[in-house]
Symmetry: C2
DNA sequence: ATAAAAGTGATAATGATTATTATTATTGTT
DNA sequence: AACAATAATAATAATCATTATCACTTTTAT
């Protein structure tokens, strides 16, 4: 994988946004810093970074695809009002791969939990 | 919700296939029984049944959408070779909504766990 | 039997993602 | 520093699953 300024900026943008952005969101942010960047470049690099294990692809609402730069074990909370994705600590459900193995015999390669609800921010907004 | 033969057949087909089929899969199966059925009708009814809480929408690999007629609490295992979806019993991780509430304060409306790996059937095939 | 409401089939439209391609940037080697 | 080679880019066309549209049909209650 050869260096490129675009990829560096894409990764930096992903790291700076806590909400687990989509490709399009990153594109909209980066356009201000590098107006010549192409949406295809954002998609290409995010997929490449994910294939190389440097970031993770996560599923949002309605089949939307979000990205996560945090490689440590954790889960996700998706707000059904604003679609933002937040982290949920791993210890709410530790060691699930082994539990599934012992209960079903299935060998788990990976898994994710996506919790859904209304985030604190959106919850506040409901009362003005 | 008014009765329709199409909807009845769609639900029946979903119930008869353990693999948690996609809209397109159900369409391909039903075409044999009711050749005049339209793919749009399959999509329309599956979404409607899901909105009315009679079935559930679940996320497969690569953003594909599958459906589940089983409303009881359970999780899913998605085979990364054949894309079939299997059930995983609830007791591998019970009471997660409360655990998340007590650890984070977030109120969970729903959640799903999708485990990924190679299913037994595909695992066997690897050795002919 | 009838009229309102909901459903259907066919197909066009949508929208997110991917493929294509001519051009440009990076890298290791002389 | 100049040189291939190789990978990456920008722009845009293509793809594909899903949804919207609409003229027509079926269901349902009266």
């Amino acid at each position: 994988m050869k260096y490129s300024k675009q990829r560096e900026l894409i990764l930096k943008t992903l790291q700076e946004h806590m909400i687990h952005p989509t490709a399009d969101y990153i594109y909209e942010v980066l356009k201000k810093e590098l107006p010549s960047i192409s949406l295809a470049t954002v998609y290409r690099n995010l997929n490449q970074l994910a294939e190389n294990g440097m970031i993770k692809k996560i599923e949002g609402l309605n089949g939307s695809v979000h990205f996560d730069h945090n490689l440590s074990k954790h889960y996700h909370f998706i707000c059904t009002k604003c679609n933002k994705v937040y982290d949920v600590p791993y210890d709410v459900a530790p060691d699930l791969a082994n539990k599934v193995l012992s209960k079903t015999g299935l060998i788990i390669e990976s898994y994710d939990i996506s919790f859904k609800g209304v985030c604190l921010e959106c919850h506040k907004k409901e009362f003005h």
